[in-house]
């Protein structure tokens, strides 16, 4: 829990002033968050940058993985498809659900849409689970700060 208090995650940390500050809700294997962003995240005037849209999808899918098994994960594959522009100062719903898994990875699909259901973007991601064996295997390639944070964060599913 202590590690969450000091998390500075660009996607979900409530204390990161330049972050997205996404607040997630979970329902079964699905996870969702409402998101409304201002002009700091624009590309063209009035339009949210496509890379920020990708970050929203990545964070939503990663949260879905974490909340489904209380194991953090790295993104190893991400495909974003855009259906229409995301506009500034407009509320959207980001959601994701797990579509497949094996011992070391989880596949997730996500959507960003207007409350009406109009689709802005669709995402497909593959996430590598940072289990104890995976962290042991990665050995010195994993920064000590990361390993400590993940160990502190892990707790029983529930």
């Amino acid at each position: 829990m202590a590690s969450e208090a000091v998390s500075n995650c660009f996607g979900c940390a409530p204390t990161n002033d330049i972050g997205l500050q996404l607040l997630f809700e979970q329902a079964g294997d699905k996870c969702s968050a409402r998101v409304r962003l201002g002009s700091d995240y624009e590309s063209f005037p009035g339009i949210i940058h496509g890379g920020i849209v990708a970050a929203i999808m990545d964070e939503t899918m990663a949260q879905t993985v974490y909340r489904s098994g209380r194991v953090a994960a790295f993104t190893i594959g991400l495909r974003i498809r855009y259906g229409r522009p995301m506009e500034t100062d407009t509320e959207y719903l980001a959601s994701a659900e797990i579509t497949g898994r094996d011992n070391c990875s989880v596949r997730v699909s996500g959507r960003l849409e207007l409350p009406s259901g109009d689709l802005v973007a669709a995402g497909d991601g593959t996430f590598y689970l940072l289990t104890d064996p995976a962290l042991r295997d990665s050995g010195p390639r994993s920064p000590e700060q990361l390993r400590q944070a993940l160990a502190a964060r892990r707790r029983p599913a529930g």
Partner: protein, 87 residues
């Protein structure tokens, strides 16, 4: 195999018609996507996502620009389904 190909083509038309909210009869192989009613970039993406899910295939991004008619889209889906079956 012929029947299977026919099924794929018919199901593709159903998906297009459903996503655009138009009768299946308005969706013919020589229909140009851009001339179909209600078509926009969002609905094209929805058609692609629904088609991928229905046939367990993956459609590449450039299809949005390369495919002009419903018939071309059907040919692509049939081809991808055949590739999938041969793996």
């Amino acid at each position: 195999m012929d029947l299977q190909v026919t099924d794929i083509r018919e199901q593709t038309v159903s998906i297009i018609a459903e996503q655009l909210g138009i009768p299946e009869g308005e969706v013919t192989p020589d229909s140009h996507f851009r001339s179909l009613p209600n078509v926009d970039s969002m609905r094209v993406l929805q058609i692609i996502l629904k088609t991928e899910k229905a046939f367990a295939i993956e459609i590449s991004d450039e299809v949005t620009f390369r495919v002009e008619t419903v018939g071309e889209f059907q040919d692509l889906v049939v081809e991808l389904c055949e590739q999938q079956a041969s793996i």
